[in-house]
Symmetry: C2
Subunit: 159 residues, 2 copies
DNA sequence: AAAGATTGAGAGGTCAATCTTA
DNA sequence: TAAGATTGACCTCTCAATCTTT
């Protein structure tokens, strides 16, 4: 169960990380659902577009922003979001292989409504229980973890 | 984009949290897959059983341990893990409505093999980049967040 | 009637193969 | 031939309905 490479103190923190993420993200999803709004997956797409130059991105660019989703999955996701009228696809003139995904007015409005709910939850589960110095230390730790997770998985590292 | 309720410093930390979790969990999944081992979902089940009194739990008890999965989803998941020979189901004598899920020897062995790989990744992305005091502060923050996320979503809070 | 668990139908995801344009 | 994006087949998860036992 234990292992010399992962001392108990770090292991406890790791478990709390996994469980904490689950609890917190489930809570946000629940709040959105109860408000009759789409899920966080949709939010990620709307957010990525909202902050882009012309509130538009090509599928590839969108894929870079929406983690935890394959390119294929993103195609299906955009299909649904487009069917809901929140984005529209446009052919890319400079490179006709590409497709632009453009945020519509409805999409902008939906993003705002979702942010209302999302922000309220972030306030409750994070801002209200963590002071500024703690938030900074938290961010700092997570940035190092992200960085350490970036490089390729080391196979036969000992060889 | 910004909101008075969520100051920029906290919002940055929140984004790093979401992205960091994704990166880190993807890396662990990748390491398991490349070692030809099952996913973290299976690990959670094996781990919960491994640490239980008789290395056995009823479906309900298992469901409490395996977050991020509905009761129904757990039934299907256990179907597959059982088909792989890592657990077996047994009727519960004291309450014949219930089902025991029992860890097999193969299951114990698989858990150990998976932990090898999992621990190596935890070491790389967490232990090696965070000191003990930081890990403790990290755990502390996440525990407060978990706690804040626990109570029911507040509807009509202002009413 | 309620609790423990499973099943059928459907939503959403992935991989490999495909289509189109560069 | 390679790159951008989509499609087909398949896998996994969820909700509502169901079956069995209390």
């Amino acid at each position: 169960m234990t292992d010399v490479r992962v001392p108990e103190a770090w292991l406890d923190a790791w478990r709390t990380f996994i469980v904490g993420y689950e609890r917190v993200s489930c809570r946000v999803e629940r709040a959105l659902a109860e408000a009759g709004l789409p899920s966080l997956t949709w939010y990620d797409v709307l957010w990525a577009l909202r902050r882009s130059p012309n509130q538009a991105l090509r599928m590839g660019g969108l894929s870079d922003n929406v983690l935890a989703m394959s390119r294929t999955g993103l195609t299906r996701l955009v299909d649904r979001i487009e069917a809901a009228g929140l984005v529209r696809r446009e052919v890319c003139d400079s490179d006709r292989r590409g497709t632009w995904v453009v945020l519509t007015d409805e999409g902008r409005h939906m993003h705002a409504r979702m942010w209302e709910v999302y922000a309220a939850e972030i306030e409750r589960v994070f801002v209200s229980v963590v002071d500024c110095a703690e938030a900074e230390a938290f961010r700092n730790v997570l940035e190092r973890m992200s960085e350490a997770a970036r490089d390729p998985v080391a196979r036969d590292a000992a060889a």
